[in-house]
Amino acid sequence: MSLLEVKNVVSGYGGMEILHDVSIHVEEGEVVSIIGPNGAGKSTLMKTIFGLLKTWDGHVRFADEEITSVVPEQIVRKGMCYVPQVDNVFPSLTVQENLEMGGFIRDDDLGPRLNEIFELFPILKERRRTHVKTLSGGMRQMVALGRALMLDPRMLLLDEPSAGLAPIVVELIFERIRAINEQGVTFLIVEQNALKALENSSRGYVLVDGQNRLDGNGQELLADKQIGELFLGR
């Protein structure tokens, strides 16, 4: 049984259908990437899984539980957290306060978990009392990740973690993702930077125009001749 099962999902915004029958699955412990050209519906898929968008048809199951119509506030309680692509921090709060907000629904003392997050991101520890709006893009992304990790999630959804970051920083972020994955967190990542994503994933899905087109092992996918057609047209 997969940790996350997305079956034949149809969804969109307002009157527009963006996803036309998309299916993916993620096994516990994996890092799975979703790549594809602009407008393919990658972010839409993520928001639909997390309940920010209504599923028009199809099912989403997480840890063997039906979460198709569950709202985000409840999904986080089940062990799935989400890092949006933009506006993924609280800019006028400090680093520590951002993390504390991530752990809002916990009833226990946040201290131990905060320390664990600071161990993962030592740079943040030095800056725990800094207001996030003064931090660089890379550090903000770390705060965004840290916030989502406060609830000890089983699975993290990341929407374009490399967006707007310099290549060295992208490398750092993905390295941290690997480290967190080794600690047992499963990842589903949507990425524009297909190369980076597939280099760091066990498997990938290529989404084009709201539909599954290709999937497979990370390296195989990159070498696949069809990728050119999918990204640059027939």
């Binding site: 986080v76 309680r77 949006p84 506006d87 993924n88 609280f90 306060e97 907000m101 809002f104």
Partner: protein
């Protein structure tokens, strides 16, 4: 010049006025910043707070046979203070009810910000009309009789009641500050003001937080109204006529910033009072208006703004 001799006393009174405005402005800025709502019923929430207090001090407590004595040279006793509680709870409650029954439904139907503001205008009229129906349109006072003036250093002349007003405003703003900066709930409110979607995504119960904001905002505003009634008199339009100065204070200090609201309100209060040294008091609203236009031209995000 006679005007200058009166300056300290005028500034002193400006601080009193500023203190009254502060609590209303803080409530307004909280609601604006966290719930993103320009509440045109805010002035009338002040009025509601003032009248509910009068209901308890002048009718309910005496009817229960409870009486008291005045504290020293203040014009009220502990019954007055006790009446703050129902006033705050009821006014806060009314604000929450309007949100749940009206504003939330309108928001769910995706009406624009203008429509929401107009609906709060409707709420303002409803509240004021109810007050007029229940208490009539005459003036009322919390207490009768002359109230003595104290002369303080620098020629500042204030009544003991007015010192109470200033103290109350400062204490409440301080308590709010501690709440927002040090408590989990307070931080969650600041988070919501910053990024409501992310707050939701983090699991923060945004609907409950919204109601909490209306409660706190309404409560602070009610207190503002009570202090206004204490300083002058109660009449149904008492809060409504302060709506412009309240908005001006909020914008002056930067929308969503409680400390800014304090600074804005004090600035406004002092400026308005000082203007009476060379302008007719009838121009006080014009002064508020003028300050508002000035800040919008020079620094629209407010003194402490930046959002």
């Amino acid at each position: 010049m006679e005007a200058l001799e009166n300056l300290p006393a005028t500034v002193g009174y400006g601080i009193v006025l500023g203190s009254i405005l502060t609590l209303g402005a803080v409530g307004l800025t909280l609601i604006y910043g966290i719930v993103r709502f320009a509440n045109f019923a805010h002035g009338d929430l002040m009025t509601l707070g003032a009248y509910v207090t009068m209901l308890f001090t002048a009718q309910i407590f005496p009817a229960l046979g409870i009486t008291d004595n005045r504290f020293g040279s203040l014009s009220f006793g502990w019954i007055f203070l006790l009446s703050f509680i129902p006033a705050i709870l009821i006014t806060g409650g009314v604000a929450v009810v309007f949100d749940r029954l009206v504003y939330k439904r309108l928001k769910d139907n995706r009406v624009g910000a203008v429509m929401l503001a107009i609906s709060s205008l409707a709420a303002a009229f409803v509240i004021r009309s109810l007050i007029e129906i229940l208490w009539g349109t005459d003036f009322h006072f919390y207490t009768q009789g002359l109230r003595p003036m104290m002369v303080l250093p620098l020629g500042v002349k204030l009544r003991p009641d007015q010192i109470f007003i200033i103290a109350t405003a400062l204490v409440l703003v301080f308590v709010l500050y501690i709440f927002l900066q040090r408590t989990k709930m307070g931080k969650a409110l600041r988070a919501m003001a910053d990024n409501p979607d992310l707050a939701r995504v983090s699991g923060i119960p945004t609907e409950r937080m919204t109601s909490l904001t209306w409660m706190i905002g309404g409560g602070m505003t009610a207190t503002s109204g009570i202090l206004l009634g204490l300083d002058s008199q109660l009449r149904p339009e008492m809060g409504w006529v302060l709506l412009l100065p309240l908005f001006a204070s909020v914008i002056l200090g930067g929308i969503g910033n409680p400390f800014g609201a304090l600074v804005g309100a004090m600035t406004l209060g002092i400026t308005q009072q000082v203007s009476t040294l060379f302008l007719s008091p009838a121009y006080k609203p014009a002064v508020a208006f003028f300050l508002l236009i000035l800040i919008l031209l020079v620094r629209p995000e407010g003194i402490f703004g930046g959002e």
